[in-house]
């Protein structure tokens, strides 16, 4: 049975457990500062992002110079009229992912932008929920082929990820990237045409109910009819030309519409960029039978789109199934993979009682005795993005320091995501899920190939590795052993070990292993000199590579 009553006091270890799971960790100083507060108050503020600690002002300002890597010149097309060279952009500069730069459509840059936000956003929970929802509503750049639309979907998770689940499900179903990803834009079923079942199937199987959990093949077909014609339109400003090749345009934004034959105005273009005055008629009219209920998918009420009533009925009619599905996903991401059926049902009951209010659900779960149960500490294998970002938070200078340094003390995330040790090789190609089922968490993150690349990432994080790009050499993760890791000189090898463990927070490392490491690294007497500081880097590398270092 999952005890969902809230804790009333917490220890430093509790705080760090919470921060690892609900964010990307806290260093010992910040964890101690949080521990002073009552857990209920502190967790509310952490989730809501309220209070001076979570003030985004400095973070938002730093984004203007967050990318340290120089952007190369883009040469003008020799055949495209009006083409101009797009000059190189010396770093540091903003990540070039805004609307005006949508034409660049660079996945690595979008990944780097997200990673930087995860590392430095003072409201870490916001980014943690991005990871959670991105895994659940997994969408892939390789089919959407549009970084701007992928980031628009990510922003949706920030703005609605703590609202009501049924609202989020509807919003995701209307999201342009999702409409492309699972073929909603091609679900053309007027009259007697056969619908495209792709989105309807996954909306139930992967996004709200779980496989074979309360629906039939007939329900899939019926929902596909309800959602036929769900697509989006563009305004002229949303269709951004590449200045180096103006005939090439990229969609930078989109506005949901049901393609039902009505006028396209105020927009002017269909989802694929073609100019139109009316929308194609793709939507089925009449009624459907879903979950045994007859629903009118032609007329609308409550400001809903045509067919939206069918989508919402997943939660209203199949609420118990939906709550169990959500409970399982929340548990395996935030708490444990070893939950019992009773645990799952207890959380599901809480979800239903909340009216699928995700903010209430997350607050209840993350304050609960169940969440803080000692059996759940270090009981999950950490995903590679979280693992990398958490280490970067611990080892690199904080935003306030990094922003003032010359060069900026930010990781060269774009080189990390591009050609050093990619998230892809570590098992999570951020923004580019291989399939709509996302990534398997916990032990699913671990195989020999992923461990191979985690060792390479660990080297980048701990061993001061560099990469060259456009004639400049960048520290992949700029770190200072004396300033960032050991502001107070350690007096012994054990003190070095203890400090690094406090920073990196691995699971329990067998005593014999730690002893062997220290004995091999410092076979004779200990002096805190440059050589020992290099050894400290190697010890950090070992901790990051160790089995315990994969847990959180």
């Amino acid at each position: 049975m999952a005890n969902l009553s809230a804790i009333s006091t917490w220890t430093l270890a509790d705080v760090q457990h919470f921060a690892r799971r609900a964010g990307f960790g806290l260093n010992p100083t910040d964890a101690a500062a949080l521990q002073i507060q009552a857990p209920g108050t502190a967790i509310d503020a952490w989730i809501d992002g309220t209070g001076p600690v979570y003030d985004p002002t400095a973070f938002t300002a730093a984004l203007a110079t967050a990318d340290v890597v120089t952007e190369s010149q883009v040469n003008a097309s020799t055949t495209d009229p009006g083409a101009v060279n797009v000059a190189a952009v010396p770093g540091p500069h903003a990540f070039l992912v805004d609307t005006a730069n949508a034409w660049r459509n660079n996945l690595n840059t979008a990944q780097a932008y997200l990673a930087w936000r995860m590392q430095h956003n003072p409201h870490a929970f916001e980014e943690r929920m991005v990871l959670f929802w991105h895994n659940l509503f997994a969408t892939g750049w390789h089919k959407v082929n549009n970084a701007a639309l992928m980031l628009k979907q990510i922003q949706l998770f920030r703005s609605q990820g703590l609202g009501r689940f049924d609202d989020l499900l509807v919003a995701v179903s209307k999201d342009p990237a999702m409409c492309i990803w699972l073929d909603s834009v091609l679900n053309n079923a007027p009259g007697t045409s056969i619908p495209n079942e792709n989105y309807a199937r996954e909306a139930m199987e992967l996004y709200s109910l779980g496989a074979d959990n309360g629906y039939s093949q007939a329900d899939i077909t019926q929902l596909a009819l309800a959602l036929s014609g769900w697509s989006f339109t563009l305004a002229e400003a949303d269709y951004v030309p590449n200045p180096a090749s103006p005939s090439q345009r990229t969609v930078a934004d989109g506005h949901f519409r049901v393609y039902d034959g009505s006028a396209i105005a105020p927009d002017t273009r269909a989802w694929y960029g073609g100019t139109r005055t009316t929308l194609q008629n793709m939507h089925r009219t009449g009624t459907i039978s879903l979950f045994g209920q007859t629903l009118d998918i032609t007329t609308t009420a409550n400001g809903w789109a045509k067919g939206e009533n069918a989508l919402r009925s997943i939660v209203t009619v199949k609420g118990a199934n939906c709550a169990k599905f959500l409970a399982e996903r929340l548990l395996i991401h935030f708490v444990t993979a070893a939950f019992t059926t009773q645990d799952r049902d207890d959380v599901a009951t809480m979800i239903q009682a909340s009216g699928f209010d995700l903010r209430v659900v997350l607050k209840t779960l993350l304050k609960s005795q169940y969440f803080f149960d000692s059996a759940h500490r270090f009981a999950l294998a950490e995903g590679p993005v979280s693992w990398t970002v958490r280490a970067a938070r611990m080892l690199c200078p904080p935003l306030t320091v990094a922003a003032g340094q010359t060069p900026k003390g930010y990781p060269a995330w774009r080189l990390v995501t591009n050609n050093a040790t990619t998230f892809d090789q570590m098992g999570m190609k951020l923004l580019d899920a291989g399939g709509p089922n996302g990534w398997k968490e916990h032990t699913g993150w671990l195989n020999s190939n992923n461990m191979r690349y985690r060792t390479k990432a660990a080297a980048a994080l701990a061993l001061a590795e560099t990469r060259s790009s456009n004639g400049t050499t960048y520290a992949l993760f700029p770190t200072s052993v004396t300033a960032d890791w050991f502001p107070t000189a350690p007096a012994s090898t054990q003190a070095v070990y203890d400090r690094l463990v406090a920073l990196l927070q691995p699971g329990p490392i067998p005593t014999a292993v730690g002893t062997a490491w220290l004995a091999a690294l410092w076979p004779t007497s200990f002096v805190w000199d440059a050589a020992s500081q290099t050894k400290a880097r190697e010890l950090a590398f070992l901790i990051l590579c160790s089995p315990a270092g994969q847990l959180y």
């Binding site: 199937r201 074979d212 020999s448 060792t455 062997a516 160790s546």
Partner: protein, 445 residues
């Protein structure tokens, strides 16, 4: 009443031939290539299995379309727009079945008698979820219990503390099919730099990788039962042990190798996408890596590879031919390339059998531009020891299930049983034990 399904599942453990199922076997009337049908060679002493996962549930009905008989009319009716109806678009496999020539190169291999086709392969109670169906295929058991059929093979056949490289996937993930109770396959997705970070080999004084092993190896012997901890330790130890293999030379790279033939994706490969441009080279890259591994002498017996993108709910008229060309072309190139590799156990082409599978086929009735999830699938095996032809029965398109999907005709575990016993050399009793029941063998081996 004994159904055909019952019959298949309850055939004797001695590998009794499915004479009835191979009624079409030996049909080798394909028109591609000038090489006549060649007799199969004996199963080699050191066989290698290369599994190809056709990921996404492929529309094999458009790869082996009906070209005569009762099925043709149904097919024409339900595939009015997407159907392969032009006789010039296919070669004839006999028995009312054609072979789409977009499956590049396969008509030539078929004409040589090197391909065994198993249309209608599937399972009772099929599932239309990619992931559930894929897990069922991966587990391959009468009573699925969370391990894969090849993982259980590894549990049984591999040295418990050795054989690190005997089972290997060239994908970056580790599919359920390859997970055993005690052993898992190694995952290597590139041949270069298969070592620890360069830092450790750049004159630094760190006492090298042995320290890292003390994090993995020692951890394995520690009394931990934490699944995450054990998974990390096992994965790290596998990586550590593998990179110690002498085949990984200086810098951790396998001996470089230039393929002897062009593959899809290569400049100059003669077949392009239907909508022009270079074919997807994803499977080609995996096959080239496997060929490089075989040439380098890695002791791998089973390799796993994957080509995704087959979930053709839409745009099938363009995407499906492109995918077929990449799939068929890659297999043909790989098969040809293997002829140039001599190993200590013989010519690689003689040692390798390619086995394909996909989690399901697609709905017979097309939608508005594509096809939705279906049931029964198609597997095919390619190799010099294969007895080419059609095996099993082609589904009856006039007798679909309540959702308009094909009823399976050959249990997929019959394919596994055949491969385990007749290719990987497992005793019949062991084979049956690995699959949890006795499934009839197919006579292509």
């Amino acid at each position: 009443m004994t159904t055909r399904r019952d019959f298949i599942q309850t055939l004797g453990a001695t590998g009794a031939a499915l004479a009835g199922l191979s009624a079409c076997g030996g049909s080798k009337s394909g028109s591609g290539g000038g090489t006549p049908v060649q007799p199969p060679i004996p199963v080699p002493s050191a066989p290698i299995l290369v599994v190809v996962n056709i990921d996404g549930g492929y529309d094999w009905l458009n790869i082996l379309p009906p070209n005569a008989g009762a099925n043709l009319g149904v097919y024409q009716s339900k595939r009015a727009n997407l159907g392969i109806l032009d006789s010039a678009q296919m070669s004839d496999l006999g028995g009312g079945v054609g072979l789409n020539i977009d499956l590049t190169g396969m008509d030539a291999l078929n004409a040589q008698g090197r391909v065994a086709w198993i249309p209608g392969i599937g399972m009772p109670n099929p599932n239309l979820s990619h992931f559930t169906a894929g897990d069922i295929w991966g587990q391959g058991s009468a009573t699925p219990g969370g391990t894969g059929w090849l993982g259980r093979f590894a549990d049984t056949a591999f040295n418990p503390t050795g054989d690190v490289l005997r089972g290997l996937t060239v994908t970056s993930d580790l599919p359920l099919m390859l997970k055993g109770a005690n052993r898992s396959f190694l995952s290597i997705s590139s041949a270069g730099g298969y070592v620890f970070p360069a830092y450790l080999f750049s004159g630094n004084t760190m006492p090298d990788a042995a320290l890292i092993e003390s994090g993995w190896g020692t951890a394995l012997s520690a009394a931990s039962t934490d699944p995450g901890y054990l998974a990390a330790a096992q994965a790290g130890k596998l990586f550590y042990d593998a990179q110690n293999n002498p085949a990984f030379g200086a810098g951790g790279s396998l001996l470089a190798r230039t393929p002897s033939v062009l593959y899809p994706g290569d400049a100059g490969y003669p077949v392009t996408r239907l909508d022009t441009g270079t074919l997807n080279g994803g499977l080609s890259r995996q096959f080239k890596l496997i060929a490089q591994m075989i040439a380098a002498g890695l002791p791998s017996q089973v390799y796993f590879s994957r080509l995704g993108g087959w979930d053709t709910h839409s745009n099938q008229a363009v995407d499906h031919p492109n995918l077929q060309r990449a799939l068929g072309g890659s297999i043909k190139a790989f098969y040809d390339d293997l002829a140039s590799i001599t190993t200590t156990s013989g010519i690689a082409q003689d040692r390798v059998m390619i086995m394909t599978y996909s989690e399901f086929g697609r709905r017979v009735q097309e939608n508005n531009g594509g096809t939705d999830h279906g049931t029964a699938s198609l597997s095919f095996c390619v190799g010099k020891a294969v007895k080419g032809g059609l095996y099993g029965s082609y589904p009856d398109l006039a007798n679909l299930d309540g959702n308009g999907n094909m009823r399976f005709t050959t249990d997929f575990r019959s394919l596994y049983a055949t491969v385990l016993e007749r290719w990987l050399g497992q005793p019949a009793a062991t084979t049956n034990s690995l699959l949890g029941s006795t499934y009839g063998r197919l006579n292509f081996l």
